[in-house]
């Protein structure tokens, strides 16, 4: 069993290091016609740089949350409030009875506020509104980093979900420890990889060997930012694995 329990948008990792983009990009050739992509035509490095700049921007955006969902929610909230206000004022303008409350009565009730409503209800209402506001505000202010790492590649920008890294490292740990899939659990976060291994009862585990196997896989993968590895071997073993 290998899965990445990555913290929500790096919220438990307040480090502000920016995800680095691979800087070994080969400048692209932009001359028309068929040719090898690695051959750089003279005088076109500006175009290659432009691709590079565009790609770095893409990678920076890909590792951050776009907040599209919560933006839609916020817009829906504002639209609903506007439509209700429009409805009530239109009803008043054409002289019809109000649907829920007419604007003038609403304003008069608001000005009389601590009176006319139980303080408990008022306080609870305020708490709920403040909580919703806090959720929106934190969503806007926190970095909103996605649980992803970047890989270096000469041609393309590569982003990898932490879950994929975790399952690859779990396979490496499994091979190094010679245990089954269910005995290994790997948690990958921005700067730390935790490998939890439950040994088979009676079979000693070599922690260094697991660490070396995972580190070797991680070195070959070379994600940025590079996380450090910690191996936890459980004290209780598994029987019959």
């Amino acid at each position: 069993m290998s899965h990445a329990q990555t913290p929500h948008a790096g919220r438990s990792h307040p480090d502000t290091t920016h995800a680095q983009t691979p800087d070994g990009q080969a400048p692209g050739s932009e001359t028309p016609g068929i040719q090898m992509p690695d051959v750089q035509a003279p005088g076109t490095s500006g175009v290659g740089d432009r691709i590079d700049v565009g790609l770095q921007r893409i990678l920076r955006r890909e590792t951050r949350s776009s907040r599209a969902g919560i933006a839609g929610l916020a817009a829906a909230l504002v639209i609903a409030a506007c439509i209700y206000a429009l409805l009530e004022s239109a009803l008043r303008a054409i002289g019809q009875p109000p649907w829920l409350i007419d604007p003038q009565t609403a304003a008069e009730r608001l000005t009389a506020l601590p009176g006319g409503i139980s303080p408990l209800l008022l306080g609870a209402l305020g708490g709920v509104v403040a909580m919703v506001g806090l959720i929106f505000f934190l969503n806007a202010v926190l970095p909103g980093r996605k649980s992803r790492h970047l890989l270096e590649d000469p041609r393309a920008g590569v982003v990898v979900d932490d879950e994929v890294i975790a399952s690859a490292l779990a396979r490496a740990a499994r091979a190094a420890a010679n245990v089954t899939q269910e005995q290994v659990m790997v948690v990958v976060s921005q700067r730390l990889v935790v490998v939890n291994v439950r040994p088979t009862s009676g079979v000693p585990l070599h922690e260094e060997r697991i660490l070396a196997g995972v580190e070797d896989e991680l070195q070959r993968m070379a994600p940025s930012p590079m996380p450090s590895v910690r191996v936890n071997v459980a004290t209780s073993g598994v029987i019959g694995a």
């Binding site: 016609g33 776009s66 509104v129 979900d161 994929v164």
Partner: protein, 203 residues
């Protein structure tokens, strides 16, 4: 990779959050602190009287209602339109062509190559791999230029760097076929299909 306005989203969500926070705290203070209650009553009554005075002054000639109501309604409609246009900005930026050129020196006429070409070619090239649970290719407009987004979902245990190198080689082959280098993003991701599929043991 799409054109979702990240900064605008943050600003508008932050503003809405601050407004809601302020209202919530005001309500809680009104419920708990009596001094705030008396201040609020005098302040808001003054404001309400002023508003009533204004609406008396701005009456439409020959009618009871003030034109302030019409103005308020117009502001609300504008706000709704702005919100709808904000929502429509999310996730935009899909493109259809990966190459669109006009160069009479080499070939007479326009050269347009659709994004479907890259999609079909890459999907066909990756179709035989058993270590992949899914491949998605889409064309997006990035800074006014087309870019390719390749999303692959490997099964559990596949090394992402070897997979990235393989896909990158395919992209280089595509460069030769198309004759242009476009920005390419390879996203190696996990989804429900990879989570519940069995691990890849043999490659």
């Amino acid at each position: 990779m799409n054109g979702t306005p990240h900064v605008l989203n943050r600003i508008l969500i932050g503003i809405l959050g601050l407004i809601l926070l302020a209202i919530g705290f005001l309500l809680m203070l009104l419920a708990t602190v009596p001094a705030v209650g008396s201040w609020w009553q005098s302040w808001s009554t003054g404001l309400w009287e002023h508003a009533k005075y204004l609406s008396e002054q701005t009456r439409i000639p020959g009618r009871q209602e003030s034109w302030l109501w019409v103005a308020a309604a117009a502001v609300l409609v504008v706000l709704i339109v702005l919100m709808v246009s904000w929502v429509s900005q999310q996730g935009k930026g899909r493109a259809n062509l990966i190459v669109s050129e006009y160069d009479d020196a080499r070939t007479p006429g326009d050269v347009n190559i659709g994004g479907n070409l890259a999609e079909q070619a890459l999907k066909a090239a990756l179709a035989e791999r058993t270590d992949l649970a899914g491949v998605m290719v889409a064309t997006y407009e990035v800074n006014g230029r087309p870019g390719l987004r390749i999303r692959v979902q490997p099964r559990q245990g596949v090394s992402p760097h070897t997979l990235a190198a393989d896909v990158s080689r395919l992209v280089e082959a595509l460069d030769i076929v198309v004759g242009r280098k476009t920005p390419v993003l390879i996203h190696i991701g996990a989804g429900a299909r990879t989570r519940f599929s069995k691990a890849e043991r043999v490659r």
